[in-house]
């Protein structure tokens, strides 16, 4: 490991420690102190559920109510994480599936939408990239559709397909189709004419021209488009699940909010981040296979 990387790693660890310590200290609440309160007041507080009596007869804050007072500290989130991971593969009920299932649902939904959109976008992008007139004819529509938030389509999609499962997939589709489409068309269109000249002289068939020259030649640009689509799809899948109530990590975040379990919300955020990192590194591995240096 180089010295720079070692230094960077040390700083990363230091930042994490500082953040966690700070988080812990700021969220620390003082234990309940019954001093100065009459027995009557204490009984009223216990009746309200603010405090409770331990088996030893001492008064402490009610841990259930603590959950919704302020922001939970790192230890509470750690405990929640332990609990969730412990039952990762357990289905407790129709809407209470273990975290492993939720991750799988989200990844499946994401993959279906993203892959379908990528195939459509690359095919249409290549056609537009090869045909300047068609590209100029279609481009205004792409420019209008591109900036629309994929979530804006949701009510219409839900109304049309009448199935929240497919609506969620279609939202991911809408989020990922435009960037890939636009960059593919650009990449194919700006492919160096030399390569096409070689293909023309060698009398390559239409099929070979596409798969041996055009697609590999435009691959770096197409991959850039896919990368943008990927990020935008990842951003869209979480709110889509929240709004549609489809089981997944985005749903988890929302349902924990409904349960007023803030530690659960933070856990869900961490899961979303982790899933994103894993998908992203997988994508980068694939991207490395098809790019080349000029």
């Amino acid at each position: 490991m180089g010295k720079t990387r070692k230094d960077a790693l040390l700083i990363s660890i230091a930042l994490l420690v500082v953040f966690l310590t700070g988080w812990h200290l700021f969220t620390l609440t003082a234990g309940f102190d019954p001093k100065g309160k009459t027995e009557e007041e204490l009984q009223l507080m216990e009746f309200n559920g603010d405090i409770m009596r331990t088996p030893e007869g001492k008064y402490v804050w009610n841990p259930e109510k603590e959950k919704v007072k302020g922001v939970p500290g790192p230890l509470a989130v750690l405990a929640k994480t332990r609990e969730e991971l412990g039952e990762a593969f357990i289905k407790k009920g129709t809407n209470d599936h273990g975290i492993a299932y939720l991750v799988m649902y989200t990844v499946t939904r994401f993959a279906a939408g993203f892959l379908a959109a990528s195939v459509v976008a690359v095919v249409v992008g290549v056609i537009l990239g090869l045909n300047k007139v068609l590209f100029q004819a279609v481009n205004p529509f792409i420019q209008i559709l591109k900036p629309i938030s994929p979530l804006a389509w949701m009510p219409l999609l839900l109304y049309t397909v009448k199935d929240p499962k497919w609506t969620a997939v279609l939202v991911v589709f809408m989020a990922s189709v435009w960037p890939t489409l636009a960059t593919t068309a650009f990449g194919v269109n700006s492919l160096r004419k030399d390569y096409l000249h070689v293909a023309a002289i060698l009398q390559l068939s239409w099929f070979k021209r596409l798969f041996k020259v055009i697609l590999p030649g435009a691959a770096p640009t197409i991959v850039n488009g896919l990368r943008i689509s990927f990020g935008s799809a990842l951003v869209a899948v979480v709110p889509a699940e929240m709004l549609l109530g489809e089981l997944g990590v985005g749903y988890l975040s929302w349902i924990e909010w409904n349960n007023l379990d803030i530690a659960g919300v933070i856990f869900a955020i961490l899961v979303v981040g982790t899933v994103g990192v894993i998908l992203d590194s997988g994508f980068n591995k694939l991207a490395g296979l098809v790019t080349y240096q000029e």
């Binding site: 390569y195 070689v198 002289i201 060698l202 009398q203 590999p216 080349y292 240096q293």
Partner: protein, 282 residues
């Protein structure tokens, strides 16, 4: 009968300033024999690369025809392979794959082993053994153009079109590759049409040199016979009594045409006689 015939070819572009057309060159006519090596020299803008692209079928002509073996050709084909100034190797393919793409296209009925052996033979011919699995980025300019030459020769085209093939290669390497080209051409004897800016290169390689006047409205002004017997090498060719006569003649021609730029400035005979280029022979 001439093998490759460029018959009254003219090229006009729509004027960029709008209205009318600009003539790049007009009435270019030359008959090239089978196995002959013809070079074209002229100032930038005389349309020599455009002419080469027209022969290759990559660009269209406005008037005239290209005849190969008595047949008019239209569009690109495997019988006329280009060696590009910019090498035009696919950067995502290895040296081997780049040449194999061409060999597969030229010999579709060959099996896998035969194609691989053929590719390997041409890689070794240009001295790139050991670099088969490298990508073009990992190669120097000279090595890239060796791949370009191997690719062109490997499909054994009837006509080889060299578009300033060594312009982007350093002077020392250029000399070495020129001699390698002579070696390869000696065995294959393709008909060659080359575009170049390098007078020494043209004399070393060609049988005849076409000198083009300046564009717009360029034409073949002179055709110089290179009356130096083959085999030639860089070391011995300069000893030949005709070498500097030819060289000086071409340089004088180029300097005369460089002075004022436009064709109109050069004192050239107008009228019918100007249609036929002067043949210069020492």
């Amino acid at each position: 009968m001439a093998f490759l015939q460029i018959d009254h070819v003219s090229k006009y572009f729509a004027s960029p300033t709008g209205g009318g057309q600009v003539c790049i060159f007009k009435d270019v006519t030359i008959k090239i024999d089978k196995g002959e090596f013809v070079a074209t020299i002229g100032h930038s803008g005389c349309g020599k690369t455009t002419l080469l692209n027209i022969i290759a079928g990559l660009e269209t002509m406005t008037e005239g025809a290209i005849l190969l073996n008595g047949r008019e050709v239209s569009g690109p084909g495997l019988d006329r392979m280009v060696v590009f100034q910019t090498f035009s190797l696919m950067p995502w393919m290895t040296v081997f794959q780049n040449i194999r793409l061409a060999v597969r296209a030229a010999y579709p009925d060959w099996d896998h082993e035969k194609i691989a052996a053929h590719v390997q033979r041409y890689i070794e011919l240009v001295g790139l053994k050991g670099a088969e699995d490298k990508r073009p980025t990992a190669l120097s300019g000279g090595m890239k153009q060796r791949v370009g030459l191997a690719r062109a020769f490997s499909i054994e085209p009837k006509v080889l079109l060299l578009d300033e093939p060594f312009a982007q290669i350093d002077a020392l390497t250029r000399g070495v590759i020129q001699e390698e080209l002579i070696q390869m051409w000696n065995t294959s004897r393709n008909t060659v049409f080359m575009v170049t800016h390098d007078v020494d290169e043209a004399i070393l390689l060609s049988d005849r040199i076409m000198l083009m006047s300046n564009g717009p409205g360029a034409r073949i002004a002179e055709i110089v016979d290179v009356t130096i017997p083959r085999p030639r090498s860089r070391a011995t060719i300069i000893e030949h009594p005709h070498y500097y006569k030819i060289r000086n003649h071409i340089i004088h021609f180029l300097v005369r045409h460089a002075k004022h730029g436009g064709a109109a400035e050069v004192d050239e005979p107008e009228g019918e006689e100007s249609q036929a280029p002067t043949v210069v022979r020492f």
